[in-house]
Structures are given as C-alpha cells and as structure tokens.
Amino acid sequence: MNEKSSQNPDDRQSIEPALNPLGEPSGWAETHHDPDVIALGPEMAVAEADVRSAEDREFVRGSSLWRDAWRRLLKNKLAVFGLIVVIAITLASFAGPTIIKATLGITPDFIPSNDVKLIKSFPPFTGVNGEFSWAHPMGTDNAGRDQLGRVLQGGQISLFVGIIATLVSLLIGVSYGAVAGYVGGRLDNLMMRLVDVLYSLPYVILVIVLLSMFRSQTARGQLILLFVALGSVSWLTMARIVRGQVLSLKNQEFVLAARATGVSTLRIIFRHLVPNTLGPVIVYATLTIPQVMLTEAFLSFLGFGVQAPLASWGSLASDGVQNIAIFPWQLIFPGVTMALTLFSLNFLGDGLRDALDPQMRTD
C-alpha cells in the first residue's frame, strides 16, 4: 500500500504536461499537484486507494462508485457464491423446462396416462420398471409429473413473484419516500402516518384477505392477484429507508446549489436525491426478493397462492408435505432448492451492503 501511494503522485505529474490547454504556466496547475486530489473525505479516499491498488493506470480515467463496489463484492466469497447460485438457478428455471421438453418431450404439467402401475410417484433416478434412469432425476410427484420440471417451473414463478413485487416496491417505495422526505412538514407527516397504519396491519392476513376476496377462477388470474397483493405491502420499508436517506441528504449543500441554479423540485428529488440513495435501495431490494419469495411460498403452502397446474416452490412443498412419509423427495427437492436460493440471495444482499457502504468495510 505504501509503495502504491508513493508512486501515485508521480503518475499524476507525468500526465500534467498534457493537461495544459490554456498554456497558463503557474498558478492553477498547482491545483493538480495538490494532494487534495485524493484527500477527499475518508470514504472516497479509501475507495480510491482500493482502486489504485487494483489497477494503477485506470485511476486517471476515473472510477465510479459502482466499479469500486463491484470489486469489493468480488472479494466477498459468500456473496460471489450467492451470485453464482442465483444466476444458475435463474437460468435453469427459465431455460430448464424448455430443455427438458426438447430432450425428453415432457412438459412440467404432463401427466402420463398410459402408466400401468398404480403408484405414479417414482423415486429419483428411477424408471418405470424400477431400474436406474435419468428420466426423472428428482422423481415424480403423485400425479406422475416430472419433479425436476415442476421445480424449475416453480422457480420461474417464485423468482418472478419476488422480482415483480420488488420492482413495485422500488417504484412506489422510492418515489413515495423521496417525496415525503424532501417536501417534509405536514405532507411528510401525513404520508408517513399512512405507512405506519399499513405497517400495523398484519400484512400476511391482509394479503390473505385480498386474495380470498378477489379470488380468481383461473390460475393465471390468481397469480396476478398474488403479484398485486405482495407488491402492495412490500414497499413500506423501502419508503421509510428512502425517506430517511433523503432527510439526511436534503440539507446538504449540493441540494441548495441545485436549487440556486433554478432546478425544479421534482428534478431535485428524482435526479439529484434518488441516485444518492441508490446504495441502500439496491441492498434493501436484494433483501426484499427473498423476503417476498418466502411470503409467496408461505401463502402457496396455505393454498392461497399459486394454483395447479402452475407451481411454485411453496405449492410444491405443500403438495410434498402431504406425502412426506412415503415420498419424501417431493418435499425435499423443492424445499432444498428454495432454501438454497434464499440463502444465496441473502448472502448476495449482505455482500452488496458491505460493498456499497464504505463505513462497514473492514479492509
């Protein structure tokens, strides 16, 4: 580290002659030699030091906060593990069923009708005659549907629910919180009391009521209802987080400076303040996804969520738990897959928090 920092001023000086378009010899050129370039505030200084130790020359081209964060994220083994698992499961969920159909010719909701045996539920790696077979690596469910296909399709829906609800929470929560925080005063009070009221309602019950009140006939309609129900309660914490951030940011001088240049209120909120809250927002959004997925699984487990023939990890686990003594794989596979995904998302969220929050950094 010492060695690096000592060689840096030289770097900067070496580019100095090129940086002289006006040809003013003295005076301001010193600005550039000024050690101030790196003595910016503790966070930034450390951040830059990190960058430099990684790639010395890149420094001149400048590095954004995001690139620093990315580099720090890659140092965190658990987060990288989480990232890889999340990407793998996402890819498998969305491409898997298609691949299975192409290779084996079965869709996740295919129920074999020509089956001679009464027991349609095969253990993993077992064919029709009890021999080893790759046809059903996770076995089949009690209707004879391929469990792997079901789990992957369930993953699609589980991830979808998580992502959509999080997007809703981003959209509503961020704008709501930012407006409340920036405008302040009576409006802030009103808006945040509304959030408090919504908070105090037990939201699982709220979702259950919503889902049973507007019970839809089709599986797809039920799914959309689920999106709406989860989305409508998932933005509350986001709104609080963003409001808190905006409150602490809005008295900073750059906001005053923006106002002094005549920027409109709306623009200040969304172009100047919201980008500054992105760090915590991203972290919280990453942690919202598993939370929403868990809620969805819980609801599906209770039978309020996804309806057959569609499946989610929750509904698969719910089906599996009925036969747990005889066909344990029906619970184990969706359960383990979901646990693994939630684990990974949480690791990733924690990693992102560490990467984006300079104060939490240990190195």
Partner: protein, 337 residues
C-alpha cells in the same frame, strides 16, 4: 429593463426572521443597499451576523420553515423578486442570479458526473440540446482553467481537488452569464494559494463578462483586494457601509476598527493577537441598546440604552454608532493596522 438609476440590485429594509423555540431570531434586520452593474460588493462580518441569510433572501432560498422574509423588497432589474411567483424566481436563479457556495466539497452532487451537473443548468435555462450543453460545459471548464477539460468533464466530483471543484462551481454559476453572481465565502474552505487563484479567477471573469458580484466573506484581506463597496454586518444589521478604500482608510465604527485590528499582521512585533472581547450576541434576545455595546471599547451609557443612529459620514460612508463622527474623525489617517 434596468432601473433608471443604474442599479442592478436594490435591497430595501430587508428583514428575514427565523422562528425558533428560543424565540424569533432576527437574522437579517432592516438591511438596505444598492449594487450597480459591474460593481463588486463585499459583505463582511463574523459568523452568525446574517451575511449568508441576506443573500439567500435575495434569491428566496431561505429555508422555510423556520425562516421567513417578513418585510422589505429586493428589486432586481426593476422587479421586486419577493413579489414574483415561485416559478418566475426559479427562472431567475442560475440564469440571471447565480450563486457559489462556501464548501466546494459538498456543493457538487457526488453521484452525478461533472458534465451532467454543468449541462443541467444550460439545458434548463438556455434550452440547449444535450450536445450543445455538453460542448458548453467543456467550454466553461476551459474558461475556469480546468486542464484537459474534455476528459475531465466526465469525471465525478470526488476525482477533483477542492480548488478544482470550486472552479467547477464557478463554471456552473457562470454558464448562463448571469447579471449577478453571489459568492458566499467562496474561498473559506480552501488553502491560501488556492484562495488566491480562485479570487483571481472570479475577478478576471467578472471583468470579462461585466457581471456584478456580491462577495460574502469574513476575510478582510479578500474584501480589500476584490470589492468596490463594503458592508460590515453585525447581529443582522449593517454597521458600516462605505467604499472599500474609504472603509479601510478611515473606519467610522468601533466594530469595524476592531475587525481591522484583529487581522494578524506578520510584520508587527505584537506579542498577542488582538481580539474583540466577548462573542457575538444572541440575536434572539437583543437588548434595546446597540447590539455591539457589551463588547465595545468606546461604549458609554447611552449605547446600552438607545439604539444607535445610522450616521452619514460622507455621501457614501455610513456608520451605525452613537459616536460615528468622533470615531471617524479619530481614525483619520492615524489608525491603520
């Protein structure tokens, strides 16, 4: 557009009060001054004397609540800014009156590229397209002496040093060629060499564009080199108002004299620095007399009892003091530190 007497800005009896739990704080209490086109006005005073609030009041950026402009007028180009609808004021800000702030470290948005922040102003006020605004941003950076502006323009603020960031702020403030530039302690957060560069830059750009400048500072040295007129503020009031040369040569107010004596003089072999005894008063609870009386060497009984008059010493030299004439006479040539 310009008013008949050639004044760009006329501030009349401006009063800005803050409502606090402690009572009403009269941060600015009856300030009046004029600023002619192309002139520079310095406002000097200790911390909390109301310098910054005066200027925030001019462009109506006083935080409300708790602050409120309760009276007065701010006539800019013949228009009273305080009576304009908010939307109109927004069009004036940045376009015709621009501001530079004290701390360049915090007055740029850390998350936006320099280019974005510079482009925003001209896109907003001059209707530039993205490409035009980008070129203009580069041009402005070159004007304020940022080396290699074309590459630097896409940097983030944290990649700039303090002095360079203040240059960026100046570039931003001047990008629409405003008629009035308000610089609120533009050099306070910078070290001495950078200070000199920044002041020199403001001075030269001012001469080039003919912009009027209001320079707020607590540094008397800055005032001496930069301004045509000076206002000395204390406790929300103007204590002395004069041409810069006149004020330095012949201060007419004990407070100004105290300030001048407080400037460290490296050549003098003084053992101790002079300081005005006491501290600035609590403007929420001012006593009826002169607010400076408790700290004033010259104070007599009347000072504690009656509010001093605003005495005209010469046509452009005024002082708020019961003994203005005497102080003025006494300081004739004799006292100058």
């Amino acid at each position: 557009m310009s008013s008949a007497n050639g004044n760009l800005l006329e501030v009349n009896d401006l009063r800005t009060y803050f409502e606090t739990e402690d009572g009403i704080v009269k941060a600015v209490d009856g300030i009046s001054f004029n600023l002619r086109r192309g002139e520079t006005l310095g406002i000097v005073g200790e911390s909390g004397s109301g310098k910054s609030v005066t200027n925030l009041s001019i462009i109506r950026l006083v935080p409300n609540p708790p602050g409120k402009i309760v009276a007065g007028e701010v006539v800019f180009n013949g228009q009273d800014i305080l009576l304009l609808p908010a939307e109109e004021v927004r069009k004036i800000r940045g376009r015709r009156i621009a501001m530079i702030f004290q701390d360049p470290m915090t007055s740029l948005n850390p998350f936006l590229k320099i280019s974005r922040q510079l482009m925003e102003v001209t896109q907003l006020h001059l209707g530039h397209t993205k490409a035009q605004a980008y070129e203009h941003a580069i041009k402005m950076l070159e004007t304020v002496g940022i080396p290699d502006a074309r590459t630097r323009v896409d940097n983030y603020p944290h990649e700039f040093s303090g002095g360079m960031r203040q240059r960026v702020m100046i570039a931003m403030a001047l990008s629409c060629e405003p008629e009035l530039l308000i610089a609120d302690e533009p050099t306070t957060a910078l070290d001495v060499t950078i200070q000199a560069q920044i002041l020199e830059l403001i001075k030269s750009l001012k001469e080039k564009t003919g912009t009027s400048v209001i320079l707020i500072t607590h540094d008397l040295g800055v005032v001496a080199g930069m301004t045509d007129h000076v206002i000395v503020m204390y406790a929300g009031k103007i204590f002395e108002q004069a041409k810069t040369a006149g004020l330095f040569a012949r201060p007419g107010n004990p407070y100004t004299k105290g300030l001048l004596r407080s400037v460290p003089d490296p050549t003098a072999e003084q053992g101790q620095l002079y300081q005005i005894p006491g501290s600035p008063p609590d403007v929420a609870h001012l006593k009826p007399g002169c607010p400076f009386a408790p700290r004033c060497e010259r104070a007599e009984e009347i000072c504690h009892r009656e509010f001093p008059p605003f005495v005209e010493l010469t046509p452009d030299h005024h002082s708020l003091c019961h003994f203005a004439q005497e102080v003025f006479a006494a300081s004739d040539g004799a006292t100058n530190s």
